[in-house]
């Protein structure tokens, strides 16, 4: 599983987990720590702020991580602290640390178990991943994240048949929910079995969901090559390369945006509002969605701080229009 896919899966369920954590966990020690944390408003507030960044930007500042470690010493059993620590370790891609932190699977809730399985998967401990997830295989309703991770482990262990047996019954579900990576995995399992026609069928279904999907385009080029259809193999090879190039461009844009964000924050902290305005204008040429709205907020506030109220108003209007259009 690609890092980003794992992070996506992981943080999608984060908000729910976070709310549940605040409600408290089991055990006397946990109850004590949960109660104590509830009465420690500054700590609670900072934990929430860190959580917001983890969910939105999937990163954790070094000083925040060190602070969480200190808080963990103070409230070692508090559910919220444990959740934030776990999520911070995931954001750091420190998979062995995730395993060390979650420890034995005994008594783990489903989400922790899934995280633990994911960390083992990332480190290539597929048998461990499978052992953790097998009990979830027959759950109702179907636990699709657990099943797909289990299928990945089976595939990685060279058991394409088991992978197909897991994914095939939920192919329709994966297709309707647009779960491309897992569908592509099913295609790969067929490819592994030299069942090229089935592989092509599944890969094509992914391409219908997303013509820029890399895994399925690459799978199609390999499957057609294996069948001796060089023209189609070459067509999908080109499509793969174009998609790769597009992904690289997006990543460059993303990384540049992150760097601009850091400079923006520094300029704001230094009350260098002219620089804030300049950076915002620069960032608005590429920013999208929630990022775009956040940049507008900085822009409006910077104009106001500079006493340029008319421009602040205009920026607020621009932001409003953007939000409406979206």
């Amino acid at each position: 599983m690609a890092n980003s896919a794992f992070h996506r899966f992981f943080f999608a369920s984060f908000a729910v987990i976070f709310a549940a954590a605040l409600a408290g966990g089991g055990g006397d020690a946990a109850a004590r720590d949960n109660e104590a944390l509830k009465n420690d408003a500054p700590t609670l507030q900072r934990l929430e702020a860190i959580n917001t960044r983890l969910v939105s930007a999937n990163n954790i500042k070094q000083e925040d991580f060190i602070w969480i470690k200190e808080i963990e010493k103070r409230y070692p059993k508090a559910e919220l602290v444990r959740r934030v620590m776990r999520n911070a370790l995931v954001a750091r891609s420190d998979w062995q640390a995730v395993i060390d932190f979650l420890g034995s699977e005994e008594g783990l809730a489903r989400d922790d178990k899934l995280t633990l399985a994911g960390a083992h998967y990332k480190l290539g401990n597929f048998e461990k991943t499978a052992t953790l997830l097998e009990p979830l295989k027959n759950s109702e309703p179907r636990d699709v994240p657990a099943l797909t991770l289990l299928a990945r482990s089976k595939y990685a262990m060279g058991d394409a048949s088991a992978c197909i047996a897991i994914l095939s019954p939920i192919e329709g579900q994966l297709s309707s929910s647009g779960t491309k990576d897992e569908l592509a995995l099913l295609g790969l399992a067929y490819l592994d079995q030299q069942n090229y026609d089935e592989a092509i069928r599944v890969f094509k279904s992914v391409q219908e969901l997303d013509p820029t999907d890399i895994a399925s385009a690459n799978g199609l080029s390999r499957a057609f090559y294996a069948k001796g259809d060089m023209a189609k193999a070459d067509e999908y090879r080109k499509r793969t390369e174009a998609a790769q190039s597009n992904r690289a461009s997006m990543e460059i844009r993303g990384r540049n945006f992150v760097q601009q964000s850091y400079r923006l924050e520094a300029a704001w902290a230094g009350k260098n509002y002219e620089e804030v305005v300049r950076l915002c204008r620069e960032m608005l040429t590429t920013a999208e969605g929630a990022n775009r709205q956040a940049v507008y907020q900085y822009l409006v506030l910077a104009y106001r701080a500079l006493g340029r109220d008319a421009e602040a108003e205009a920026a607020a209007n621009e932001a409003g229009k953007t939000a409406q259009i979206r």
Partner: protein
């Protein structure tokens, strides 16, 4: 004695299928299991006389080249039958002059693994920010010449006169367009009897266009994704040591990639050297050298360009070997932390499948960030074992991880003979306990005992010399080949050894690993056998030669068309 590209098959089961068809009846020959011979490597750096510190000059700017390291070659420079060591140093980014302690080093071997510094005598100095090394006899005079790559494209061709190196870069018309060159390798691309050159190139870098990168708001060494790619070069030798850039004619300039490493060997066994280029974060390339004289790139469609999911990976080092004994060379590529060291098994002719997890490499390789890599028979059982060297690229990784480290243990895997490997890194001697930031790796028999040793160039650290001390290994044959009609270095030669019921194949590869070059001489482990019953040498662009009854436990010099001559490493020069 690094034969390159070796594979082992039972002749009766060798199956040739047309390209593009999967071999559904792919019955694998059952190779002999490794007879419980454990591997052992002793760190002999202190006793060897090799004293080398790599100087990358890491700065707060975190310029990309500072973390890439440099290469090492293990090759017989003075024709006395033993493997010498050439270590490339880096310097300081932005400075063409090297700091005084950042010179390249040449260490000559006494035949028993004792080395003396001959850098000054031979004039093996370096300028600029040093990267890789390739070795081959470009003028056919019998003295292996050296090609050095450099960050600003100031690559150097050093002619070996037998007594010293002479810089013939200008005379040989080696072009310099200022672009970052990494690995390089010699091959006779047109099988005309002289050596041509493939130069892998990376990204457009200058201190002015540097890119900053962050992880969790901490500045780290940047990813190559932020930089533009540079096209590789194919330089064709006109037969008199003058080269012309014919990259466009060979079609490699259409889609520049961010190349770091290459492996040169005959992947489709058609008698012509093919080229595999490992590209950082992008599709790797497999250039087939076709009888038409043109190159055809098939990596993406053949299944050896990406991860299974179609993702471009780190791709820092590469090598070939038929590790699974199905008669077809496979490809291995080192990758980033959390990525496997890829094993692209050639399951059918020119059809590959990535199987690192299935053969026991996956988990251990995910835990490391790997660069140099080499397949070699470490216990002389006729099976190729695997060594790759490791070290992260973030010197401040401790700020982002409690468990991943900057220096990392190197990884050694025993080929267990059933198509799988066993991680023996923790049980194979103190050489595997020297934990540094490793980059370049080269192998060869350094002390004349018929076992393959290794040398590592460590980024910002001391080079390591490791002797193979494995107990009760099988017998060996080590062959020093020289072409007559074929190129003098015999790069591209394919050797088939019949040993009882077994058939073992090896090739003289023009390049492998990362920025490095292993011994060109061919090493056969014979297992329990006493001799090679029949040895066939397919000289590149020339005839095949058959030699019967080659006793084990000896070193042989073979000039194309002549009988083998026994030699003792380090005893005397064999004059060209």
């Amino acid at each position: 004695m690094k034969p390159r590209l070796r594979y082992l098959i039972l002749m009766a089961l060798a199956v040739i299928l047309p390209s593009g068809c999967r071999d559904s009846s792919d019955t694998k020959a059952e190779p002999p299991r490794s007879a419980g011979i454990e591997l052992a490597f002793a760190d002999r750096t202190g006793q060897s006389g090799v004293v080398f510190s790599h100087r990358p000059t890491r700065t707060e700017k975190k310029w990309l080249p500072e973390i890439m390291g440099s290469g090492v070659a293990v090759v017989d420079i003075d024709r006395d039958g033993d493997a010498d060591i050439l270590l490339v140093n880096s310097g300081a980014v932005g400075s063409q002059a090297r700091p005084s302690d950042a010179g390249n080093k040449l260490f000559l071997n006494d035949g028993k693994g004792g080395f003396s510094d001959a850098t000054e005598t031979w004039g093996f100095s370096g300028i600029g920010y040093g990267q890789g090394i390739a070795v081959g006899d470009v003028d056919g005079d019998g003295w292996p010449d050296v090609f050095l790559t450099e960050l600003n494209g100031d690559n150097r061709l050093l002619r070996n006169t037998g007594e010293k190196f002479e810089d013939i870069t200008a005379k040989a018309r080696i072009p310099n367009d200022g672009k970052w060159a990494t690995s390089a390798g010699f091959l006779d691309i047109d099988n005309d009897g002289d050596l041509d050159l493939y130069v892998v190139r990376y990204v457009i870098f200058s201190t002015e266009n540097d890119k900053a990168a962050f992880r969790n708001r901490i500045q780290i060494y940047p990813t190559p994704i932020l930089f533009d790619a540079v096209t590789d070069q194919i330089l064709i030798n006109n037969g008199s040591g003058v080269f012309s850039d014919e990259s466009s004619r060979f079609g490699i300039t259409a889609a520049p990639k961010k190349g770091l490493a290459l492996a040169i060997g005959d992947i489709d066994l058609n008698g012509r050297s093919d080229i595999y280029v490992a590209n950082d974060t992008e599709a790797n390339q497999l250039w087939l050298n076709e009888p038409s004289g043109l190159l055809r790139e098939i990596c993406g469609i053949a299944g050896c360009a990406y991860s299974d999911m179609g993702t471009g990976e780190g791709s820092m080092g590469a090598d070939f070997s038929d590790f699974d004994s199905n008669g077809r060379p496979d490809i291995t590529v080192t990758n980033f932390q959390d990525e496997v060291t890829s094993i692209y098994s050639q399951t059918s002719p020119l059809l590959f499948e990535e199987i690192a997890d299935r053969v026991g490499i996956g988990a251990a390789s995910r835990a490391r960030l790997s660069f140099g890599i080499d397949f070699f028979d470490a216990n002389n059982d006729g099976l190729e074992d695997l060594l790759f060297v490791n070290g992260h690229i973030e010197d401040n990784i401790n700020l982002n991880s409690d468990t991943v480290t900057f220096p990392q243990q190197n990884s050694l895997f025993l080929n267990t003979g059933d198509g799988k490997f066993r991680d023996v890194s923790d049980t194979s001697g103190d050489a595997l306990k020297d934990i540094q930031v490793s980059r370049g790796l080269a192998t060869g028999d350094l002390n004349g005992d018929g076992l393959i040793d290794f040398v590592v160039n460590n980024n910002g650290g001391t080079a390591q010399v490791a002797f193979n001390t494995s107990k009760e290994p099988g017998k060996f044959v080590l062959l020093w080949l020289e072409g007559s009609k074929a190129n003098r270095s015999a790069i591209g030669a394919r050797l088939v050894a019949k040993i009882g019921e077994r058939t073992i194949e090896r090739q003289v590869m023009g390049a492998q690993s990362y920025l490095s070059m292993s011994d060109l001489r061919v090493h056969f482990g014979l297992g329990p056998a006493e001799k090679i019953d029949e040895l066939t040498i397919h000289w590149p662009g020339s005839e095949k030669q058959v030699i019967n009854d080659v006793p084990g436990g000896a070193f042989y010099y073979i000039r194309e068309g002549n009988s083998p001559v026994v030699f003792v490493p380090g005893e005397k020069r064999i004059e060209p």
